[in-house]
Every structure is written in C-alpha cells, then in structure tokens.
C-alpha cells in the first residue's frame, strides 16, 4: 500500500505541477484558441491529480500531512496545499518556468507522449482505481500529445523565428527527458514527430537532478499554497 501511495503521489504531483504551469498561460496565450486549449489540458491534468492524490491518501493515510485538529481540509487538498516542496514527488521537468509558447509545446509533447505510453500500460494495473484513472487519462493525453504535436510541426515549418524558438525550447526540455524514464514506445512516437517536423534530436547533456527539485518548485508552491495556508481551518 505504501508503494502504491508513493507511485500515485509521483504521478499525481507530475499532473498537479504541470497543470499549475499550464494554467499560468490563462489570459496570456498567443490567441484565444490556444488559451482555451491550454486551459483544457491544465484541467485534464488537474482532474488526474485529484484522483491520484486521493488514491494515494486512501492507500496510505500516513502520506497526508497532519493538520490542526478540526481542520476541514480533505486529503487531496492537504497533500496539495500543506506539503513542503521537498515532499513533492514530481519530476523537475514539470516545474520549470513555462518559457515561450514553443517551449510549452515541447514540454507538453514530451510529457504527454511519455505519460500516454505509461497510462496505456497502467490501464491493466491490478489497482482498480489506478487502472480507471489511467484508462480515462489515455483519451485525454492523446489529445494533449496531438495538440502539441500539431503545433510542433507548425512551428518547425512556420517562420525562421518559430523554428529557432522551437529548437531552443526542445533542447531545454530534452535535457530533462531522462527524468520520465526509458520508454521505447514514447521514443518511437517522439522520433516520428521530430521526423515529420524535420527537426533533429537535440544533442544535449542530461541535467543531473538526482531525484531532487529545482529552485522553481518552492516559488510555485509559495504562490499556490498561500491562501490555503493562511486559512488552515477555512471552508472553500
């Protein structure tokens, strides 16, 4: 149960943190269609995060931070809003600042491709809740990957500037790709997208992160947790 909780936390934190980053695009995207699409992806990931954090809390209640007695905060929120950054299990890739639209496209492409390959396998997981989350997620992640993949091809074939930005964004994302693990299925899909776009695989050294976090997560959580922590007995 502790192992399942820990696994669900890692998957849930990835979704929660990337959802937060994507929601930062809200009212700032290149056009309304992209504003709406990025919010959709953020909402899907937030939904995945809620189910996964709740599953983690149910599987192993000891992962949930202790709150003041009488606090009405449900476990999913205790995990999201009352855990210190060092207790978060997400990969650093999802906590990096957004960068420009090209970098966001690259991050969503790489993240969704890996997560989709994983969720396709997890749909057969013995835990009924996790397998259901994965099965639902497959549909969502397919949309995320295809949204990002289409824009990847467009930016690669658009203007000189869009191609330059795309390649720079891809290099930054690629340096964190190893955090998502080795996955032949994802490799194949990404190779296909890059080939379609005529973009070479970046020649970058993987960033050493050793399972730790970047300086960006603490800042993100300072914002994200501010209202919840100011009102630990609040009802929302």
């Amino acid at each position: 149960a502790a192992e399942l909780a820990s696994y669900c936390l890692a998957l849930g934190d990835d979704a929660l943190v990337l959802s937060h980053r994507l929601s930062e695009w809200c009212s700032r995207a290149p056009d309304l269609e992209e504003d709406i699409a990025l919010a959709n992806i953020a909402l899907d990931l937030l939904g995945q995060a809620r189910l996964l954090l709740a599953r983690a809390a149910a599987a192993d209640p000891s992962v949930v931070p202790t709150l003041p007695e009488g606090s009405p905060v449900p476990p999913e929120d205790a995990l999201a809003f009352f855990r210190d950054d060092r207790a978060f299990r997400n990969v650093p890739l999802v906590e990096l600042p957004n960068g420009d639209f090209a970098e966001t496209v690259c991050r969503v492409l790489v993240f969704a491709t890996h997560r989709l390959a994983l969720f396709e396998r997890l749909a057969a997981h013995p835990d009924a809740v996790l397998s259901a989350v994965a099965a639902k997620g497959v549909k969502e992640l397919t949309y995320h990957r295809d949204f990002a993949g289409r824009w990847f091809v467009v930016l690669a074939g658009g203007t000189e500037e869009s191609r330059r930005r795309l390649e720079a964004g891809l290099a930054r994302v690629w340096a964190h790709r190893h955090e998502l693990g080795v996955d032949a299925e994802a490799d194949g899909v990404l190779a296909h997208v890059l080939a379609t776009a005529g973009v070479a695989e970046p020649d970058v050294r993987p960033v050493v992160t050793d399972g730790g976090h970047t300086e960006h997560l603490g800042r993100m959580l300072a914002e994200m947790q501010s209202v919840a922590r100011a009102h630990p007995r609040g009802l929302w």
């Binding site: 290149p30 309304l32 809620r50 091809v153 209202v227 929302w236």
Partner: protein, 312 residues
C-alpha cells in the same frame, strides 16, 4: 450604387423585420449606423469577456482547494470562449478579431468598467460570480432577443453559462460564510467593494444615456439602464439576506464612473498592458501559423492533421 429611393425601401424592410421581432442576418441589408453601433456594442462585449479573464485569472494560481482551482480555471476558460463567439459575431459584420484587438489595445474601444477594479481576495472570485456575472446576466438576458441574429444566438449560449457561473460564485460565498470568522469578514469586505461598481455596470442613469433611444428602436437594446438596475437590486437583496451579508446603500458616484471609463480606474492601465503583452508575445506564433498555412490561410487548429493516426 444604391439610389435614395432604393435605400428608403431597404430601410423600411429592415425596420419591418425588426418590428415583427425577426432577426437581421449578416447578409441582409442594414443601415450603416446600425452596423457601426452593433460592431461597437458586440466588440465592447467581447473585449469585456477577454479583459474580464484577468481579475479572476490572477487567483487561479492561489485557489485554496483543488476543486476551486478546477472551477475557477474552467470559468475563466469559458470567458475566453465567450470572447471567441462574440468576436466571431463581429466578424460577420466585416471586422476581424485582429482589428478589434488593436482597437482594444490602443484604447479606441472600451470594455466593461467593472474589470478596472482589482480582485483582492479569494472572496472576490465568489463576489464577481454572484454580483458581476449577475448584473451581466440582467443586462444580457434581454439581448438574447436582440435584432442581430449572430449576436442574439451568441447571447443565448453565453447567458446559459453565465448563470452557471453566478451560481458557482454564490455557492463559494455560501461555503465561506459557513467557514471561519476571517472568511466571513472577507466576504463582507468583498461585497462592500463590488456592490456599487456592479450597479454601475448598467450604465449611467437614463437621463444621461446617449444611445438608449436609437438602440431601443433598432431592437439592440430592449430595456433602459435604470430599469435593469432596479431589477438587479430587487433580485439580489433576498440573496444577500440568505447569504448573511449587508449590501451597501445604492448611492452611486457617477463622477467615479466617468473617471474609470475614461481610464483613471485602479486597473485600467494594468488590464490593457497585460492584454497587449500577451498579444505582442504571441505575434510570432500567429505569424508562424499563417506562414505554415501558406495560401491555404487556415490555421493549424482547424486542420485535422494527426501525428500518429491514433487520435481517438
């Protein structure tokens, strides 16, 4: 070129359509002044949706529960959607979204002044839903029967979603009122700040409203500002009582209203600067999409290109 006689005939047909409560459609003949008034009104409405994303949007990152974060993000996303329908309606009148955005950013077109007030606490998310969306609905429900077809149809969809947002806002406030003393104080303080600006959303008193008469004759407007304001106050009073908050009095400071309309509100510059920044930052993306589409001019969004052929 249309002769004066033809024009009179066309105008008579146009007015007859309006008088029998039928819709004017984009391809129908319409007087230039009607078109201009509509473009101004629909664009202002679209801009209000887009600028209106900002005050609430600034709280998405600080929403105090995951459920509230999802609700708020979805709501702000709906506002982007409303902006999209309304810009599409103006496109049927021959003005593009790019042109309208430039007019918004340069200050030549306005948006609802309510969004020049800041959102200062999470209670404001609830209050904006309850009072601001509530006032918007009062203004907009009659517009579902407005004479211009695309605008009326957009309004039907928008009003439905706005009612949902209003209920969500009210529900947030209700929940907070059941919480801590601090939360109750936050709600009251928020209502204190938003009440009068919300009442001013209906526009100046009828005696000072320049465009009302012609707009009513054209079926663009169906009730006067003061009528709608009174209806809103009447609707809201029992809701405030059920919530357990006190509404401030209804004395409005019209000097403040005009100051804010003319650019001197607390957030006018911030709102426009934010929008301009997003628009400017996105220019290279829009250019890339246009270049990619080439002669086709369709944007990638519209294409059904699939990377892997496995799209569900």
């Amino acid at each position: 070129m249309t002769s004066a006689v033809d024009e009179a005939q066309l105008e008579a047909g146009f007015q007859a359509t309006i008088d029998r409560k039928d819709r004017i459609e984009p391809r129908d003949w319409m007087p230039d002044a009607y078109r201009r008034t509509l473009v101004r009104q629909v664009a202002q409405h679209a801009h209000s949706e887009i600028i209106g994303m900002q005050p609430e949007g600034s709280w998405i990152g600080r929403a105090p529960s995951l459920r509230r974060k999802a609700i708020l993000l979805a709501k702000v996303q709906d506002e982007a959607g409303h902006g999209l329908y309304l810009y599409s309606a103006t496109e049927t009148l021959g003005v593009s979204r790019d042109e309208l955005t430039e007019m918004l950013i340069s200050g030549r077109q306005k948006y609802s002044s309510i969004f020049n007030y800041p959102a200062l606490s999470y209670a404001d998310v609830g209050t904006i839903g309850w009072l601001v969306d509530g006032a918007a609905i009062c203004n907009q429900v009659p517009l579902c029967r407005t004479s211009f077809g695309p605008y009326g149809r957009a309004m039907i969809r928008i009003c439905k979603e706005e009612s949902f947002h209003q209920r969500q806002g009210y529900e947030l406030l209700m929940t907070m009122m059941r919480g801590t003393d601090e939360q109750r104080a936050m709600v009251q303080e928020s209502v204190n700040r938003f009440w009068k600006p919300a009442l001013m959303m209906f526009g100046p008193p009828d005696a000072e409203s320049a465009n009302t008469e012609q707009s009513m004759a054209w079926g663009i407007k169906t009730h006067t500002n003061d009528e709608l304001r009174a209806r809103f106050i009447e609707m809201t009073a029992p809701q405030a009582e059920a919530l357990g908050v006190t509404l401030p009095d209804n004395e409005l400071d019209w000097d403040e209203f005009w100051t804010v309309v003319k650019g001197g509100g607390p957030c006018n510059e911030q709102r426009i600067a934010h929008r301009k920044q997003a628009w400017d930052d996105g220019a290279w993306v829009r250019e890339a999409a246009a270049a990619f589409a080439g002669l086709d001019t369709s944007s990638p969004r519209g294409s059904d290109y699939s990377i892997t052929g496995r799209q569900s």
